[in-house]
Amino acid sequence: MGVLTPEIWTAIELTIELALAATVILLLIGTPIAWWLARSAAWWKEGVATIVAMPLVLPPTVLGFYLLVVLGPDGPGGAVARLWGARTLAFTFTGLVIGSVIYSMPFVVQPIRNAFEAAGERPLEVAATLRASPTRAFWTVALPLAQPGLFTGAVLGFAHTVGEFGVVLMIGGNIPGKTEVLSVAIYDFVETSQWREASILAGGMVVFAFAVILCMTLLQKRVARAGE
């Protein structure tokens, strides 16, 4: 692939690593949150759901600004970074993962919550009458039933992290191999009038986005048909 310089490959690899890391963490954090949101009767749960959903509406600059301060040497991020002798979590891969997890959270929690809610109480009640403990029922009944939701959440979380730009631009510092992801590389190419490189990457992103959305739609159709 002569057109893709090593620099571009680095950006592609980094983007995939970031999206994978964010997706794994999002599933680990997002699933319990979604479970709680689907099952809890707490009056304040919609407040929590709102907080989780807020990145949908907030401009990335708001998150980027807060993260720059929070991850910095005067914020909690700096305190964490000092554990291994660094000063700040900004400009690091860890910092980008934190930003991505917050930013992509609604895209993961929402479909999983919907899946848990769609499955309803009934299968769990049946499991309980068969003497399954709540934990066991969660792992053997609720989670398998919510599989399409988990899959949708994972794909959307991954894709949305790949498509993230504003937050990364603000806290990344554009370091090749560490924080220079694809979307930022495209921005750089456009700013510096390297349109050939920009169009190769931009075209790739268009194909990627098309493939992701098409796959999701086809999968949802199949699941709906299987449910009939």
């Binding site: 991850l71 005067d74 000063r87 510092g173 700013e191």
Partner: protein, 253 residues
């Protein structure tokens, strides 16, 4: 709401800025290199007071504006941070040839919030810091000047792993101001009225002067407000403001 009323509302809203523009004395849209932000705001205020015209300013990296202008962005004047881009705009047929002039010569500073960190070039040689903030050297002239400085000092390769890069000079400043980078190369203009931290005025022999050119774009050639702004920028009120913000004036013209 009935469909007709909705359409009328939308049309009304769309026409609003246009009608507003007609009613006022005159206005001109200007793309301003990020390093010139504060000075440009003050000049625009003085311009408004003197002529009654509004100068509507957009701030960003010169490279970004160049790209946008080649795609027909509605700017009438560009205050670039370099000489090449205005020149290219003239060559592209988007700038008015004889309107180009150097409105300011920028000064590069190495700056830190830590009052004891920056002592001079030995700070760079000692390299006892984790992150050095610069702005994109290809898109922004201050980034290019920073790179040139480090190359003159033969420190570029040693320091390169410590770079964090802002998309423009404002972001490079922000990284230092929030403490995320210990120090960084910024524009002297950004430190106007701020004596905090420690700084080193990079000697002029380490980098080529950052000559910042203004150019009247074809879109503004027929607009008296744009033409007026160009001559106001050369006048004594504007040059006093420019010098106040730590720029030198062009000695050649």
């Amino acid at each position: 709401m009935k469909p007709f009323r909705l359409v009328a509302l939308v049309v009304g809203l769309l026409a609003l800025p246009w009608l507003g523009g007609q009613a006022l004395a005159g206005e001109t849209t200007i793309a301003v290199a990020a390093n010139f932000t504060d000075a440009a705001k003050e000049i625009a205020a003085a311009f408004k007071q003197k002529t009654g015209n509004d100068a509507i300013l957009s701030f960003g990296a010169s490279g970004q504006f160049y790209t946008q202008i080649t795609q027909d962005a509605p700017f009438q004047i560009m205050l670039s941070a370099d000489t090449e881009r205005p020149q290219k705009l003239v060559q592209d047929g988007r700038g008015v040839a004889d309107s180009r002039f150097t409105y300011a010569v920028g000064k590069l500073v190495l700056w830190s919030k830590d009052p004891n960190l920056v002592k001079g070039e030995e700070t760079l040689k000692g390299a006892s810091f984790a992150k050095l903030s610069i702005c994109n050297p290809v898109a922004a002239p201050y980034g290019a000047a920073a790179v040139e400085t480090m190359k003159s000092l033969k420190l570029y390769d040693t320091l390169k792993p410590k770079f964090v890069e802002g998309a423009n000079i404002t972001q490079a400043y922000q990284f230092v101001a929030t403490g995320n980078a210990e120090l960084g190369f910024v524009a002297l203009s950004q430190l106007t009225g701020d004596s905090s931290g420690s700084r080193w005025m990079v000697p002029q022999n380490l980098y080529a002067p950052i000559r910042q050119d203004a150019v009247l774009l074809k879109k503004g050639a027929g607009n008296p407000a744009a033409v007026a702004f160009m001559s106001f920028l050369k006048g004594p009120e504007a040059t006093a403001i420019i010098e106040k913000y730590g720029y030198a004036l062009d000695t050649k013209s």
